[in-house]
């Protein structure tokens, strides 16, 4: 499976869960949201988006549903499940600890 080399490993899952926690979205909207939210800092290739989404779905963290979009087209909307919310909390906490540890390390003065 191609890895999003431009992202810290595992963070794509976290980002997707977080975005979907705000509201259910379809794939295209998710890609737009990713682009706008992270501006140019986090580059997510559109190719890795869908495999990641399907993986989350198979884990039972998000639920897919076919619905009409605002301009009346059928699209696959993803929404967070209860399991997904729990996973998001776990991964977010994990991320906090990790980033705190790394920023502490980075700020150590080279005495």
């Amino acid at each position: 499976m191609s890895k999003p080399a431009d992202l810290v490993q595992g963070t794509l899952d976290l980002l997707l869960l977080k975005i979907l926690a705000l509201q259910p979205l379809h794939g295209w909207a998710i890609s737009l949201r990713l682009r706008s939210l992270s501006s140019d800092v986090l580059q997510v290739s559109e190719g890795s988006l869908y495999p990641a989404l399907h993986k989350l779905e198979q884990e039972g963290w998000i639920l897919a549903e076919w619905k009409q979009t605002e301009n009346n087209r059928r699209a696959k909307f993803y929404a967070l499940t209860r399991l997904g919310r729990r996973q998001l909390e776990a991964e977010a906490a994990n991320w906090q600890r990790l980033s705190a540890a790394i920023s502490y390390l980075v700020q150590l003065s080279e005495a």
Binding site: G27, G47, P51, H54, Q58, G60
Partner: protein
């Protein structure tokens, strides 16, 4: 957590498997939706539609790869891949229908031929007793110097039951006794098999009756008091119409009334392998049944007629049980020196009892299984060879797959799936072959008084073993070709339709050559076994120790047991005297005779203990034993057994005259190697027993079965040594069955209620003992051998033909530059000949080993049967050479032009 996880994911997995098309469509639609938006976005930014489309696709980074990744995310690709593989495999196998069919048939034959002896082995050795926790049920046996698996007497059984602590109950049962059964008064009794069992039999074994009740422990306490009977399910259905009201009814057994108290469950057909009791009665009713008339069943400690089994207590080991029993046996020997001197006891598991040294059946089973596995091995090697050449012609296909990025493990899985499909088809067909084989074995009719069940069947365990064998053979056949073909050199693989064997060829061919050598060796071994069996059985009939053809074709036999109609000793004596007199008067009857058992009958002959007069017995031995028969004055004449010295039994040897005996020559030489046995005396039972004078020496015959190699035998006059069960032999000139109506008339005139048991011609009995039983064994092994040989021929032919096709161009060039046909044949066949030689040598070695084994296990003979090898080896070499010659000759006809064009 796990549960909730599955609530979300299980429907998805199922959907991925069963609604695969739908799921794929949705994936396409989702991606299309994304792309369309992306393209619209590009156009809005001012790109041309085609440029926008190109960029959109590029942003995805390879649409098809993404799709594969998404499919992988579904986590069921191993299964969907497998389904794809199976679909692909069936399609690809259908492209070569004849090859595929040949492979399936080969596997079917291999599997089917293995399942047949496996079912035999299962029935003879492994099938557990039909009771709960069968593994805890052990058998107690009485042992002496001469007998390792003896029965116990009633008194000994009570000692075992009351003085052992290792068991949750000790039960006793008699052998299957022929019993005269009358459903309605006035009818002639029919013979059924009954078993005397201890009162605790059903309780200890854990068998609950389907209706009514089982025996109570106190129902075998008082001799003759409790006339109750538990019916077997078969008997209840067949003779009483499965009537639920049968419980409480009275049935007549051997002329006495018994109350039916219960019916055993369908799951309990009894503890025997080959027969099923029709009913069970308590031990205390022994007097009504055919126990030894010369002994007192309840009092005599040496009237040993009971098999004893026990249920081991949880936590008690076999060792503890053995030690306890040894001590008990030692105490009994001290307490009752007369009956128990030098008598020990042993505990055996079911497995030990079934694989005991003195039982031939399971040994046949083991030998068949070994031979059948050899055939399966040959079949597998052949299939592996065929798959190898099949895969080889697909080198280019495989190279292309590797080149476009298929993983090696994925390809191996694909190729293995093909052999799996073949193996499963072969396994299914193999089950059909197995059914046919088992049907063939069950078709053997055994001329016994009580019906003998051939218990071989394809039960779940045998079927499971068969399935396992199929899967194993799939792996064995498919793995090597799969591994080898995926190691292809891509460049050369892509360039030619067939791999060039220039540098890697010899190694690959070495594998196939080894297969062919193994096949030739195996089939030579199998054919050797078949021939050895044939010659072994045949030889057993050549030594003139069986009844001559003239006699056996003209003898009618019928058995009587007056105890079935409650005759006492005097009535029995009178009945036989009158029967003999009247039978001799039947027109057409040359001679008539009484015997307890004619030679080669299925029942075990009687045994007599004796001391030759004047012999000083070794200290630890009280008497010698020999097989014996009670006969009358017509016996030797009727069966045509020559008297070599002295005289036979005469009508003047009566109950009141001095006691006499005739011994066989083996006996005479055994005890009087340097003198004449005639005139010598034996003392029965011990040094102080009744004296009996030897008045004649008869020719040694085969008494028990055709494997007998000369054993001691003693004949005593029926008048001086009476027995209840006797066989009447009538000899005539024509068809013995013509005597049947007049004999019936005579018996009816004496007693309308007297059943005639086992009425048949002696030729029937002889045919079973000498032809049908052994014949079946020969046919089975012979079939194995011939199938093995056919497989080996196909394998060798295939190898040489393949070699020719591989070297077509080379041969063409050789012919073009002047090679003669003989040169070409030498070139092509040389290798084949080497293989034949190697295979034959190995096969010979295996055959010698097998001959040792068979002689030790079956024929009690040593030595090597040179004739077998002299006949087999040249035939084998000739046939296999032919298999190599045919493709070689074809090679000489290769037109050089075609050869040169062939690349």
């Amino acid at each position: 957590m796990r549960l909730e996880h599955w609530r979300f994911t299980a429907p998805l997995r199922l959907r991925s498997i069963f609604r695969r098309g739908r799921v794929e469509d949705e994936m396409d639609e989702e991606l299309r939706f994304h792309l369309e938006h992306k393209i619209e976005e590009g156009i809005a930014e001012g790109l041309s539609p085609s440029e926008a489309r190109r960029q959109a696709l590029a942003a995805m980074g390879g649409l098809e790869q993404r799709k594969e990744e998404i499919r992988d995310a579904r986590r069921v690709h191993w299964l969907t891949d497998f389904v794809d593989d199976v679909r692909y495999a069936t399609r690809s196998l259908r492209r070569t229908p004849w090859l595929s069919a040949f492979i399936v048939v080969t596997i079917a034959v291999g599997i089917g031929m293995t399942a047949t002896p496996l079912s035999m082995l299962d029935a003879l050795i492994f099938r557990p007793y039909p009771v709960p926790h069968p593994g805890r049920v052990v058998t107690l046996v009485s042992t002496t110097r001469d007998e390792a698996y003896g029965d116990f007497s009633h008194a000994e059984y009570l000692d075992l039951r009351d003085h052992t602590k290792s068991y949750d109950g000790v039960v006793a049962s008699s052998t299957l006794l022929p019993v005269g059964f009358v459903a309605r008064p006035g009818e002639t009794p029919t013979v059924r098999g009954g078993q005397l069992v201890s009162g605790n039999y059903f309780r200890v074994l854990g068998v609950d009756p389907q209706i009514g009740r089982a025996f109570r422990d106190d129902e075998d306490q008082a001799p003759g008091r409790d006339a109750v009977v538990v019916l077997a399910p078969d008997f209840w259905r067949r003779d009483l119409g499965a009537d639920p009201a049968a419980v409480g009814r009275t049935i007549r057994l051997n002329g006495a009334d018994f109350t039916v108290i219960g019916v055993a469950p369908e799951s309990f057909p009894g503890m025997y392998i080959f027969s099923r009791p029709d009913f069970y009665v308590p031990l205390a009713m022994a007097k009504t049944f055919s126990t030894n008339p010369e002994k007192s069943f309840f009092a005599d400690r040496d009237d040993r007629e009971l098999a004893v089994r026990a249920r081991l207590k949880p936590g008690v080991s076999m060792l503890e049980a053995r030690n306890e029993l040894t001590t008990l046996a030692r105490n009994l020997a001290r307490e009752y020196p007369k009956s128990n001197r030098d008598r020990g006891a042993a505990v055996h598991t079911q497995f030990e009892m079934r694989t005991r040294g003195n039982d031939l059946n399971w040994k046949f089973g083991v030998i068949f299984t070994i031979l059948a596995l050899a055939v399966l091995l040959v079949a597998c090697t052949n299939v592996a060879g065929l798959l190898l050449s099949r895969v080889r012609s697909r080198t280019r296909e495989i190279a292309v797959r590797l080149a476009v990025g298929a993983g090696r493990s994925r390809l191996i899985r694909m190729l293995l799936t093909e052999s799996l499909v073949l193996a499963i088809l072969g396994g299914l067909a193999g089950v059909a072959v197995a059914y046919a084989g088992i049907h063939f074995m069950a078709s053997l009719s055994i001329p016994a008084e009580l019906p003998v069940k051939i218990p071989f069947r394809l039960d779940t365990r045998v079927l499971l073993a068969t399935v396992a064998l199929s899967l194993l053979s799939a792996l064995a056949c498919g793995l090597a070709p799969a591994l080898q073909s995926t190691r292809t050199n891509l460049v050369s693989g892509l360039k030619s339709s067939e791999a060039s064997d220039v540098e890697r060829g010899p190694r690959r061919l070495r594998g196939r050559s080894a297969l062919v050598v193994a096949q030739i060796a195996m089939s030579l071994m199998l054919l050797t076994a078949a021939f050895l069996m044939y010659r072994g059985f045949h030889n057993t009939l050549l030594d003139r120790m069986t009844i001559g053809q003239d006699a056996r074709d003209h003898i009618l036999m019928t058995r009587f047991d007056p105890r079935l109609v409650q005759y006492d000793a005097e009535q029995t004596r009178r009945f036989y005297r009158l029967l003999g007199e009247r039978a001799r008067q039947i027109p057409g009857v040359h001679s008539a005779a009484f015997t307890q058992d004619p030679p080669l009958a299925l029942d075990d002959p009687g045994v007599v203990a004796f001391v030759p007069d004047g012999f000083v017995m070794p200290r630890e031995r009280e008497a010698f034993t020999s097989l014996m028969d009670s006969i009358d004055e017509g016996y030797f004449e009727t069966l045509g057994i020559p008297i070599l010295r002295g005289r036979g039994i005469l009508a003047t040897d009566t109950a009141d005259s001095p006691r006499v005996a005739v011994v066989n020559e083996h006996f005479a030489r055994h005890y009087w190697p340097n003198g004449d046995a005639v005139g010598k005396r034996l003392r029965l039972d011990g040094a102080n027993g009744t004296p009996v004078e030897i008045v004649g020496v008869a020719q040694t015959m085969k008494y028990r079965d055709t494997f007998d190699r000369g054993i001691d035998f003693v004949y005593m006059p029926f008048s001086q040594h009476p027995a209840a069960r006797m066989v009447l032999l009538l000899r005539t000139d024509g068809d013995p069955l013509q005597l049947l109506p007049p004999v019936r008339g005579v018996v009816h005139g004496l007693d309308a209620n007297m059943p005639m048991l086992e009425t048949r011609t002696y030729a029937d009995l002889y045919r079973y003992a000498t032809v049908e039983g052994p014949g079946m064994a020969i046919k089975l092994v012979g079939t194995l051998g011939i199938v093995g040989l056919l497989l080996a021929i196909a394998g060798l032919y295939g190898l040489v033909a393949y070699n020719v096709s591989r070297r077509t161009r080379e041969i063409g060039i050789r012919i073009a530059i002047g090679a003669k046909p003989a040169d070409v044949i030498r070139l092509v066949m040389g290798k084949g000949l080497a293989l034949v030689a190697a295979g034959t040598a190995i096969g010979l070695a295996l055959g010698f080993g097998l001959e040792r084994l068979m002689n030790a296990m079956l024929f009690n003979a040593g030595g090597t049967d040179v004739m077998v090898y002299l006949m087999l080896v040249p035939a084998m070499v000739l046939v296999t050479m032919l298999a190599a010659y045919l493709p070689a000759r074809k090679a000489t006809r290769i037109p050089p032009t075609l050869a040169l064009r062939c690349e």
